[in-house]
């Protein structure tokens, strides 16, 4: 029989033993995450970036580091076992984005339309 007997053998609840990762992938993830962390701290404490661009740089580095964590530590890949997890993650990211940017946007707008407060 060819590879399809693996498919026919599978029943619910039976563990299919396959290692999902290796020591090497965790170590690669650790090195990349440490580099991203150091870069974040350096960017925030030095004049390496143009001052008004520092928050943007920090957000970019944070997103990069989250990506590193997702791929190397949580093993979200392009494999078929990850499809559902990726879809759920995409929905989660959408909600997180709506909550954070929506709140900041609305409150900033309200704040700028407030009557000027005078000191008593």
């Amino acid at each position: 029989m060819d590879g399809s007997d693996r498919l026919l053998d599978r029943t619910p609840g039976v563990e299919e033993h396959e290692a999902t990762a290796s020591y090497l992938s965790y170590t690669a993830g650790l090195v990349l995450a440490i580099l991203a962390t150091i870069a974040s701290f350096v960017v925030s404490q030095t004049n390496l970036l143009w001052a008004p661009g520092i928050p943007v740089g920090l957000v970019v580095l944070a997103i990069a580091q989250i990506g590193i964590h997702l791929v190397f530590f949580l093993h979200l890949g392009s494999g078929p076992d990850s499809t559902n997890n990726i879809l759920a993650l995409a929905f989660g990211v959408l909600i997180v984005f709506l909550v954070i940017t929506g709140s900041v946007w609305i409150i900033t707008n309200l704040n700028s339309n407030m009557m000027p407060m005078t000191a008593q």
């Binding site: 029943t11 962390t37 494999g79 076992d81 909550v99």
Partner: protein
């Protein structure tokens, strides 16, 4: 042989293509369990996003009290970050050792994870206590309320994770690395890595942007 042919007929799709897309029979239990736990983690992320949003809105409202730049010690934050990152690494290595059925190696990595997680919590608790002693407790300003809520919720998650780690290590010792224990370990490692992801957001938005 005839039965095998009949069985194989509806599954003409190659196994690798069918998996995870509804074809090819039910997914293995550890995939299903990890997916359910992943949904829980994402809902936890949505809760954290509300706390992040509150902090982002209130970060400037210091009510004449101390600002982040005056309160935060970035050297401590860097040590905290490294503790949590390394504990994520040892947690991953421990999960891998468990998957390869090395209980002794798993327990060593679990001990490293526990020590690093505890070090993180001790540094954070010291920082909180120092801020409260300086009169910069959660009741001082809206900024500090949001700060303590966000960072404190993360700390509570870390503490809960450490308690769960003790519980799981005891299960590994008592029951061995059987399938059910392995699935719990898989879920726990997902939780621990997710906490590290939240911390990336915390040190970027709260500490680095707040201190500069």
């Amino acid at each position: 042989m005839a039965i095998a042919t009949i069985d194989r007929a509806p599954t003409a799709i190659p196994t690798e293509l069918a998996r995870g897309r509804g074809g090819g029979g039910p997914a293995p239990k550890r995939i299903v369990v990890a997916y359910g736990f992943w949904i829980f983690i994402l809902s936890d992320m949505v809760m954290f996003s509300a706390l992040f949003a509150a902090f982002a809105v209130l970060r400037g409202n210091t009510a004449g009290g101390p600002t982040g730049a005056e309160l935060f010690n970035l050297r401590n934050v860097f040590i905290e970050t490294m503790c949590l990152l390394l504990s994520s690494y040892t947690c991953g290595l421990g999960a891998l050792s468990a998957e390869l059925r090395y209980p002794g190696r798993f327990l060593i990595f679990a001990a490293f994870t526990f020590v690093l997680g505890t070090a993180f919590l001790v540094i954070e608790a010291t920082e909180f206590a120092g801020m409260v002693a300086k009169g910069a407790g959660p009741s001082r300003s809206a900024f500090l309320s949001a700060f303590f809520t966000l960072v404190g919720t993360h700390g509570v998650h870390v503490a809960g994770g450490l308690i769960a780690l003790i519980y799981l290590s005891a299960q590994v010792i008592a029951k061995g690395l059987q399938a059910a224990v392995l699935r719990r370990l898989l879920c726990w490692s997902l939780f621990w890595h997710a906490l590290d992801i939240v911390w990336v957001g915390v040190f970027t938005l709260v500490y680095l942007m707040g201190a500069s």
